[in-house]
Symmetry: C2
DNA sequence: CGGAAGCTTGAATATGCTCAACACGGGTGG
DNA sequence: CCACCCGTGTTGAGCATATTCAAGCTTCCG
């Protein structure tokens, strides 16, 4: 699974980048050899355990990162503690609000996570000089905006069952975009609490909707986080 | 108020652009004289009455636009008719999902609206050749994403009163970003039905929360759409 | 004047929340 | 090895908030 990527001129590719997902699909894919070499000199791979905070709200930003492995959870918290998850990021997403001086949200590791951390100034210099990079970030931002707007429909207009079904559908299809199979089995990257915060529900309601969907045969719960969906299209019909 | 802008070489500025808000603050502000001239040749100002659809969901996109005046409402609809407003756009925002082949949402005139419509291909050519334009669009997209995420917190985690207060606060501060005054008076650009669809509530609940806030003295309802807020900071405290 | 659109209000209902108890599994320490 | 605890998840009973359904009001316009 984690086999090393093959480059034509592997010797030219920085060591740190050889087995990196983002190397081809992420932002580094649009960098020249020279740019990549320069950037890699100042980059560092970092690991976070599930639950750890990567960057807290209103912390100063002095680096960006690429998600290499795992799931990142972006969330906002009201003064009295109510929390809302406003985005999930998977490999090879770029992490960090471009041009932001300080963070406006919490960036947490939802699962165990590997990141490739890059200095803020270096990225911003590259964005200014490499239109392809700027274009790629524009496309990611547009995609995130699309996703956010889809999610607003879920938050504002769907019932609890539909919300949970929509979440499961999101995860199921994201894991394996080439979903030619009717059935899918996967592990949830989020706790029930995280799912609740994502859906604007309580833990209890999420749990009830899981058992609800299970009773209807839409999903099978193998082991709390380990699920399978016998028929993805049937699941989709519960998404509202 | 709607006085003509003064340019150093006004003669070089296309006639159609002379009294345009977007000319300086919007996308046209980053175009060269030559680019602007070329673009203006293929642009057309269009007017839409409140309630009219500018672009429907899944319609093919063959133009972008700048908002010159009025408020645009972006919304999504579920199969059974449930609707969610996912964004509002004001002058001088750029309108249209870049690189999209067909629309993924409804674009409606919330108020009477003036747009400057520009051919899709022309804009995309400019984006590809003018990094400043690409940068400006990236910044607008990032701003929209920030707004969408703020709104997700409102949709997912706030009570009906907080939602309505948040909406009023949004409109009040957007009208007059230099809000040195304690009190503000303004006209709502949306009907109760639109507000409900924006907030994920029913019309009735929105109405009840208006009278609720009125009774508490947080707002004064002069004439349905015409409101005044005696103390903006007091309103803010109801936003959760 | 009649009718439609937009808004408000009331009463009954339903959906999801709160509070509380319990189940399960993994880790720690006696 | 067992006892215990803690984190995570499930389930139940009662309750609160927002919805539904229904009626009525005002304003605008033909």
């Amino acid at each position: 699974m984690a086999s090393e990527r093959q480059d034509v001129h592997n010797s030219q590719v920085p060591r740190i980048c050889r087995s990196c997902e983002a190397r081809h699909r992420g932002i580094c894919g649009v960098l020249s050899e020279r740019e990549l070499l320069e950037l890699s000199r100042h980059s560092r791979q970092v690991v976070h355990k599930a639950g750890e905070t990567v960057i807290g709200d209103s912390e100063e930003i002095n680096s960006y990162a690429s998600v290499m492995h795992g799931v990142i959870k972006l969330s906002k918290v009201l003064e009295d503690g109510r929390q809302q998850v406003v985005g999930l990021q998977f490999a090879p997403d770029f992490l960090g609000r471009l041009f932001g001086k300080q963070s406006t949200l919490n960036t947490d590791a939802a699962s165990d996570v590997e990141l490739c951390r890059m200095p803020k100034a270096a990225i911003e210099r590259l964005v200014a000089t490499n239109p392809a990079l700027e274009g790629l970030l524009l496309e990611q931002t547009l995609r995130e905006l699309d996703e956010a707007r889809d999610w607003m429909v879920t938050l504002g207009r769907k019932t609890a069952t539909e919300k949970v079904a929509s979440f499961l559908y999101l995860i199921a299809t994201h894991k394996d975009p080439a979903h030619n199979e009717k059935s899918i089995s996967f592990e949830l990257p989020l706790t029930r609490a995280d799912i609740a915060d994502f859906l604007g529900l309580t833990i209890e309601t999420v749990s009830r909707q899981f058992t609800n969907l299970k009773r209807k045969g839409v999903i099978e719960i193998e082991h709390h986080r380990q699920l399978s969906v016998p028929d993805v299209n049937r699941l989709k019909r519960y998404c509202g």
